[in-house]
């Protein structure tokens, strides 16, 4: 067994030092009836090449994004990840380090987190960001709970443009909570969330670009929320959009939650992803998750440590702000390296390129008979209405080798109003040929 260093002779020698007659003697505290009374019906150990063959066979049964035209988005986006990013995150010192509890020998991870927090704060135009959460959806649930702690109010209103999965996660976290209002789906970008704010409201949650691709007016939302003493939580599932769009912080957002997967991280069938969270300086003591801060060492040299841990479970136990300990460290590293490679110039260019590809896609779709484009505004994603149910249409297009997007009914099966809606995304990887292939196939299917 290639991962186990001991020879049988060494095992015997070690048992001798311990003074144990056998390895079983070390398990003497285990009740006899629970100790290996079973035959494990599992395969035996296997050489590397056979394991690789097994896994390659499984991978081969999946259609990769690179296999053909690809327009799937809805909260996870297919972008190019520079080779440098993937090389660097596989370095032993990044990949196989633990959470940086011993700062003297973790300055690499800690300085990176400080840089990451700075990048996220700048992109969102907020005062401070944490060292990441699991993903955007759980981050949204954490933000809702944080808003309740901050305002000591209970009512939460979720916009009808919030990603349905995010809404469902918040619902699970706040199980049976009468103070949670989930507004009905708003595929046309309409919304009456401002009418739902009152003196009991802790926060309203608005996604922009929203699930259907529309850009939402954060300024009026922030003003309306603040007028009633409520907080505005802004959710961003496509972080690349902030290369081109004004930051939520500039409009008055109180907490910004984002999915950071688009920068530096592959699709990975849904995880691991990267939850970003940023807020105002005065709110940090109610913020969940790790925070990295600057300090000095005994020689007066600048250094970094995990800080404000009195918020956290290992100190506060049942009084902690959250039970979170692990974050998404390596995904944050990938994000930070990619963002460092982009810089302001590259990030802006990438965002412009995404918007340009989406404009090309939108114009092409709008020209297809039987396709109605619902968006007046969008960044790199949009919703169309077709004359037939979208789910079987997507299957038919997949059979033609085109992954045409996400039928809204897959996320909202109970809502008949969205059965014919399809959400499509374009990124820098979307070519004119991809769009032409989609248009041709869609035209035929709808004919």
């Amino acid at each position: 067994m290639r991962y186990l260093p001991h020879s049988d002779a060494e095992r015997a020698e070690m048992l001798g030092v311990i003074g144990a007659s056998s390895i079983e003697a070390l398990f003497s505290a285990v009740p006899a009836k629970a100790l290996k009374t079973f035959d494990l019906n599992l395969p035996q150990h296997s050489p590397e090449y056979l394991v690789e063959a097994h896994m390659k066979a499984l991978a081969g049964k999946n259609r990769a994004g690179s296999d053909g035209p690809f327009f799937v988005g809805a909260g996870a986006y297919r972008h190019h990840v520079p080779a440098t990013v993937d090389h660097l995150i596989q370095r032993s010192e990044w990949l196989t380090a633990y959470t940086p509890y011993q700062p003297e020998i973790s300055q690499g991870t800690l300085q990176m987190l400080f840089e990451f927090q700075t990048q996220v704060a700048k992109i969102t135009s907020m005062d401070v960001a944490n060292a990441s959460l699991y993903d955007g959806s759980t981050g949204t649930a954490e933000a809702v709970l944080m808003a309740r702690r901050l305002t000591r109010r209970n009512k939460i209103v979720l916009s009808g443009g919030l990603h349905p999965h995010y809404r469902d996660v918040v619902r699970s976290y706040l199980k049976d909570d009468a103070d949670l209002e989930c507004l009905s789906a708003s595929p046309e970008g309409q919304g009456d969330i401002l009418d739902h704010i009152d003196e009991t409201t802790a926060a309203i949650v608005i996604q922009t670009p929203d699930f259907y691709g529309h850009l939402r007016n954060l300024k009026t939302a922030a003003d309306a929320a603040h007028a009633k003493g409520a907080l505005l939580i802004v959710v961003v599932t496509e972080i690349v959009s902030l290369g081109l769009l004004e930051s939520p912080g500039a409009y008055g957002a109180d907490i910004v939650v984002a999915e950071g997967q688009s920068i530096g991280n592959a699709l990975n069938f849904g995880g691991p992803y990267l939850g970003l969270m940023a807020t105002r300086k005065e709110f940090i003591r109610q913020m969940p998750g790790r925070l990295c801060g600057e300090t000095v060492d005994a020689d007066g040299q600048r250094g970094f440590v995990l800080t404000l841990s009195t918020r956290e479970q290992h100190i506060r136990r049942e009084k902690a702000t959250s039970n979170i300990c692990t974050n998404s460290g390596l995904c944050a590293l990938a994000f930070s390296i990619h963002m460092g490679l982009l810089g302001e110039a590259g990030f802006t260019k990438l965002a412009r390129l995404n918007h340009a590809r989406a404009c090309a896609l939108a114009d092409a779709l709008a020209g297809i008979p039987g396709v109605e484009l619902l968006n007046k505004t969008f960044f790199n994603e949009m919703t169309i209405r077709v004359a037939v149910p979208a789910a079987p249409l997507v299957e038919a297009l997949a059979a033609r080798g085109i992954l045409a997007g996400v039928p809204v009914s897959r996320l909202e099966p109970e809502n008949p109003n969205v059965a014919n809606l399809l959400v499509l995304a374009a990124t820098e990887l979307t070519t004119d040929e991809d769009i032409a292939a989609l248009v041709a196939a869609l035209t035929e299917e709808l004919a």
């Binding site: 030092v17 311990i18 398990f27 840089e115 469902d168 069938f269 590259g346």
Partner: protein, 515 residues
């Protein structure tokens, strides 16, 4: 005894640090924002023509001030930073309760196959049958190793798994008209996530004291049980490295009282393939794929915390999950029946599932059992070798996967557990877990894992013995001043917390000197 420092490895091997602070080989690295600027970029992207913007007037009006680096600059920045880290690959990482085992690189290679890395969570299910099959295979391994009825794969980390497990318990009791059960029993030795999770769901936490031998007394549990108790959260093997000898009786008592048994599976590495938690009577247990099944810790995640469930809790499992139907695999994405719903946007940590299954297949059932046995062997070996120089809190019992010492042996030396651990850094080892579990004074919790060779363990023990002797000999400064050879000396954590600096700010332009 004196330590032979001749020939100590300085590159690979057990010594993580070859250089002292600020040496030419480990220069201080400026911040990204101090070396980059908004003009430089390490990517080539075409300039996009946008004839008619659809941004609706929401375009950015101000600059972000985001620093960029060219590719060679970025490579050097992140390589230099990386060298300031200790890692498993550079030296032993004996952190108790963290299971810092070897991370096979085959796992990394497999996780990067386009058929796994480049598939979208919402692409048609017909195009991801291999991914669903992989999830099914992983689920089968986990259920087989634990003898349980179901597994929820989606939790993103151990603490998320705890949350899911307790949500399932809550859902089951709500469904049974038992919503009045508002108390969760948590032993004092438990990890902080346990009470934090219970409180997160609105439960009142009731601590259970540890016995003198570090384990939980079934009678103490019986005394604490009442019709208002929802569950017990018990770590087994526990945080003292001991298998709970009365765990079956505890499970029985908990069930007799109508409550559930949540088992914290953080220490499953000690018993995988040797003991099946389902045989002990557990109802839910999370498994940290990043501990037990070798997925990398990555400097603090991503983790993965699948939760195995008993038949009683299985109906409450979250969506999505994989189901076989008419010869094809389907993904159940919407709650049916009693399912408690969705706890994360997509299918969970697929990248970690791939790595964990690769590890399982490499080891096989036989290899996993051998790994658990070797992990226990290594911990007992350390305990046996060091018992004469250190103080063992709970007497002469075999331990499981970790060796626990208290600070009695340091009495009167002026050296604390913290000082002692920091001195270990100067010898090339990562410190052990300190001051945890809380039930032991000045705790030092050492978990070598199965990955360490006898040679490395011997070397570690020699260093530990030499340090203990030096502390007792009164060479206090070696400890209180440590570390001296790390990239940084001790950092001022009080200052960091008192006036937090959580991001870089551009230094103010220096005012012009007065004429």
């Amino acid at each position: 005894m004196s330590m032979n420092t001749q020939g100590r490895p300085t590159g690979t091997g057990t010594s993580g640090f070859a250089s002292t602070s600020g040496s030419s080989m480990l220069p201080n690295e400026p911040l990204l924002f101090e070396i980059g600027d908004t003009e430089h970029s390490g990517v080539d992207l075409p300039d996009a023509e946008i004839s008619t913007s659809r941004l609706g007037g929401f375009e950015r009006k101000s600059a972000l001030d985001l620093a960029g680096l060219t590719e060679p600059e970025a490579m050097r920045h992140y390589v230099r930073l990386s060298r300031l880290n200790h890692s498993i690959d550079s030296g032993m990482y004996p952190l108790g309760s963290c299971t810092m085992k070897h991370n096979p690189r085959l796992n990394e290679k497999i996780a990067r196959l386009p058929g796994f890395a480049d598939i979208h969570p919402l692409q048609p299910v017909s195009t991801v049958q291999g991914a669903l099959e992989l999830m099914n295979q992983l689920a089968n391994w986990l259920m087989t190793l634990t003898n349980t009825a179901a597994v929820a794969l989606t939790p993103k980390a151990g603490a998320h798994g705890e949350l899911l497990g307790m949500m399932a318990i809550k859902a089951a009791q709500d469904a049974a008209g038992q919503s009045h059960r508002r108390i969760v029993l948590v032993p004092e030795s438990a990890h902080g996530t346990n009470p934090a999770t219970a409180a997160f769901l609105g439960y009142t936490v009731k601590p259970i004291p540890a016995r003198d031998d570090g384990t939980v007394d079934v009678q103490a549990v019986k005394d604490a049980l009442s019709p208002d108790v929802a569950a017990i959260m018990l770590t087994n093997p526990n945080t003292c490295g001991l298998f709970e000898p009365q765990v079956i009786e505890i499970a029985q008592a908990v069930h007799d009282a109508g409550a559930f048994f949540y088992c914290d599976g953080a220490n499953f590495n000690a018993i995988m393939g040797v003991v099946r938690p389902g045989d002990l009577g557990i109802d839910a247990m999370h498994i940290n794929l990043h501990k037990t099944f070798s997925t990398p810790h990555g400097g603090g995640g991503p983790g993965a915390g699948p939760v195995v469930l008993s038949a009683a809790l299985a109906p409450f499992a979250p969506v999505p999950f994989v189901r076989q139907h008419a010869g094809v695999l389907e993904l159940v994405e919407h709650a049916e029946g009693d399912s408690l719903g969705r706890i994360t946007a997509f299918q969970g940590q697929m990248g970690m599932y791939v790595r964990a299954l690769t590890y399982m297949l490499s080891h096989g059932g036989d290899g996993l059992a051998q790994a658990a046995q070797d992990a226990v062997l290594n911990a007992n070996y350390i305990k046996a070798r060091l018992a004469h120089a250190f103080s063992v809190p709970f007497g002469d019992y075999p331990t499981m996967h970790e060796a626990l010492f208290d600070d009695t042996f340091l009495a009167g030396t002026g050296v604390t557990t913290l000082d002692f651990s920091k001195a270990l850094i100067d010898e090339g080892f990562h410190p052990m877990t300190m001051y945890f579990p809380l039930v032991v004074h000045g705790a030092m919790l050492i978990e070598p894992t199965e990955s360490e060779s006898k040679q490395t363990l011997d070397r570690f023990c020699e260093v530990m013995e030499e340090l203990a002797a030096d502390a007792k000999a009164g060479n206090t400064e070696r400890f209180t001043a440590a570390p001296m050879k790390a990239p940084r000396r001790r950092l001022d954590e009080t200052r960091a917390a008192r006036s937090p600096i959580l991001r870089w700010e551009r230094p103010e332009e220096l005012p012009q000197a007065a004429e």
